[in-house]
Symmetry: C2
Subunit: 411 residues, 2 copies
């Protein structure tokens, strides 16, 4: 009966009227695959294949070292500005791309701590992505600081009241993921920034699970600092370089710790003594990773073309569809929604709780439904708006219903 | 008369009997271009084009996130081991590839300083590559340490006696470039390691200008730590990820400062609390840059196939040929050899000193002879052994002789 209530035809019909349906064609994706893991690794844009060939063959191959002056040196800032305008709600000159998310997070967290000498605490949550937590632990250990852990509901994210309770005049840095990697909970960025700012602390946001899926307004929301990865909703490729945002007013005050030649004023002078380059260029350390930056650029361009409003509308529609299907078809099998039910507080994935999540996840992948597992009991249905069809959601839930019906949870 | 003494035919003849001549065919290189800047950016291997297409299209495009388990996660160590065996003289399990040279240098320098608490000095030379100098300045500033600068002959590199004079029980870290980016001077690695070790200091070598052009024996020479870039003689591509070497005996003692998830034991547990993964895996921070690592792998494979003994023999022959030509044709125009004359102490480039070096360099590039300029007065002829022909050297010197003969140094 519940099957009838939401037949596959409804998903087909939703795909037919999807204003972003043509965007899926811009990606390499096997139509027979139900790919629900774009929140881990986004699909390959077709244009990236040509761009990589062009950068390698026409630029590296033909111009070799001379290509640095044909635009390569400007890529970190140029792609940063494009990303800022297309997905971050940030004015130009505040974003730079390069280094891994972990290294970017380290640089900005370290810079923030240096800018708040005498303050002894870092506030974050246990639900934050592991690499952020580990970096903070390392920095706290090295500097004799304390990490103050918000221990909230693992299916949610940091709440404003909880944060306000932990922040004080001892707080140097407040740092959270904007969208929780686990629950997809969207944190109240502007309010948390205001709480931190009133206490004189700096904020650092990890946008890895939001940029490219949820509209951001970093400038308007008064973010101090942000980082994020580009290989999820920005389709930049496996291990693609991450980005750093530093609010313009803070750029002259903050100094990142890895003083490399390309972050120096006049790097090719190769002169004695480090003097940070002005603006976000001072966030750079080593030579820009050109091949990877070119791939990021392609992903960012597509997202910008789609427009974050349309992307968000589809993300909400996809997750609402998933929640409705899960409620109808899977709740009887003990599957719970481990994400916020309010779509305004939910990013572009849905976490499904089940005691046998790990085994179910493996079985789904074996059947061509690519999802992922997060310990101890969550399956993530990642519904990257540019590449996920409503029928993918339907087929994914159907596959899970069948597995549960077959008793795949038994040992 | 001097022109007759070394006619172009001699260069042609040397190319004809070059045991590595077939290797040039493996690279994309315009035969009409005189490319003498492989010490800045190595040429594109043809196989890299296919490898990039394969990693993008067949792996990322087709397997998407599942490709992590098809080998991507192991790339940093697998390419590291291949590089260790093929170019570094290091046993497996001591090298990992990832992050920029600057970030790698920061990680290892920081780890070394942490391992020598109470010691207050870092010994390096003013001739060291800028990014190394700047990183050390930043670390010294943050920790209240002192950088002790060896101020030697700018056309040479650090001498063992000079180093011994500066190293003491206060020294935490001794760090130099193995081959000077400016003069191509080869430092006496084993002897400097011995000097540092006797004082209880750690050594960190920058191999950017040696790996792939000069044989290395990191294990045998008792190096503690090393980093190097892969985009010069290893042909890894613009801004390609760098590598870190940590001698096996030090791996349990040293801890790098950027605690990221992929350097943690059991990263996918995403558990509380950072515990470094054993071995060089603990040097990793963020997600490996897969596209770039694949490109590095291709370059490393080619160098390993050529064999460092043959590469070095050709490097010596090319630089000897260049020195002879410069002496004969250019010394009358005020051009000096600003590299060691002993080929055993010289890497694979030759520095030419001239008061108008910058203007001459620009004019050479305009005429299709790609060299580079290093302030204040040096033109570098980079003779990457796998891609440089003897006729390139001859043509480069000829072009410079003509420029000088035309009075191109006039204002």
């Amino acid at each position: 009966l519940t099957v009838r209530s939401l037949p596959r035809e409804e998903a087909v019909a939703l795909d037919r009227v999807d204003p972003l349906r043509e965007f899926r064609e811009r990606f390499v994706l096997d139509d027979g695959l139900v790919y629900l893991d774009g929140n881990s690794l986004g699909a390959l844009p077709r244009s990236t294949l040509e761009r990589l060939r062009e950068v390698a063959e026409d630029q590296w191959g033909s111009r070799i070292v001379r290509a640095w002056e044909d635009g390569w040196l400007e890529l970190p800032l140029a792609v940063g500005d494009r990303l800022a305008a297309g997905a971050l709600g940030a004015a130009p000159g505040q974003v730079v791309v390069g280094d891994s998310t972990t290294v970017c997070f380290y640089k900005l967290a370290s810079a923030a701590l240096d800018a708040r000498p005498g303050r002894t605490e870092i506030v974050t949550d246990l639900g934050n992505f592991p690499t952020d937590r580990y970096v903070l632990e390392g920095l706290a250990r090295a500097r004799g600081l304390e990490v103050v852990w918000l221990r909230g509901d693992p299916c949610a994210g940091p709440g404003v009241e909880e944060v306000a309770h932990l922040v004080s005049g001892r707080t140097a840095l407040v740092t959270f993921s904007h969208v929780s990697y686990r629950s997809a909970h969207i944190a109240e960025m502007a309010q948390i920034n205001a709480v931190a700012s009133r206490a004189g602390a700096l904020t650092l946001w990890d946008l890895s699970h939001s940029a490219g899926s949820v509209p951001l307004a970093l400038d308007e929301d008064r973010c101090d600092l942000a980082v994020g990865c580009t290989y999820k909703y920005l389709h930049g490729g496996p291990g693609a370089p991450a980005y750093m945002y530093v609010r313009r007013e803070l750029q002259s005050e903050l100094r990142q710790p890895i003083w490399g030649w390309l972050g120096r004023r006049d790097p090719f002078e190769m002169a004695e003594g480090y003097m940070a380059a002005p603006g976000v260029r001072g966030l750079l350390s080593g030579t820009p990773p050109v091949l990877s930056l070119a791939a990021v650029d392609e992903g960012v361009r597509i997202v910008a073309q789609a427009g974050l409003d349309r992307v968000r509308a589809k993300g909400v529609a996809l997750t609402e569809f998933a929640v409705r299907l899960v409620d109808e078809r899977l709740s009887g099998f003990g599957v719970s929604i481990a994400s916020p039910r309010d779509p305004l507080r939910r990013g572009a994935h849905v976490a499904l709780g089940h005691a046998s999540a790990q085994r179910l996840c493996t079985a789904l992948i074996d059947r061509g439904v690519v999802v992922d597992f997060r310990r101890p009991d969550v399956i993530r249905f990642g519904l990257a708006p540019l590449t996920t069809r409503f029928v993918d959601v339907w087929d994914g839930v159907e596959a899970l219903a069948r597995l549960l019906g077959e008793g795949a949870t038994g040992s």
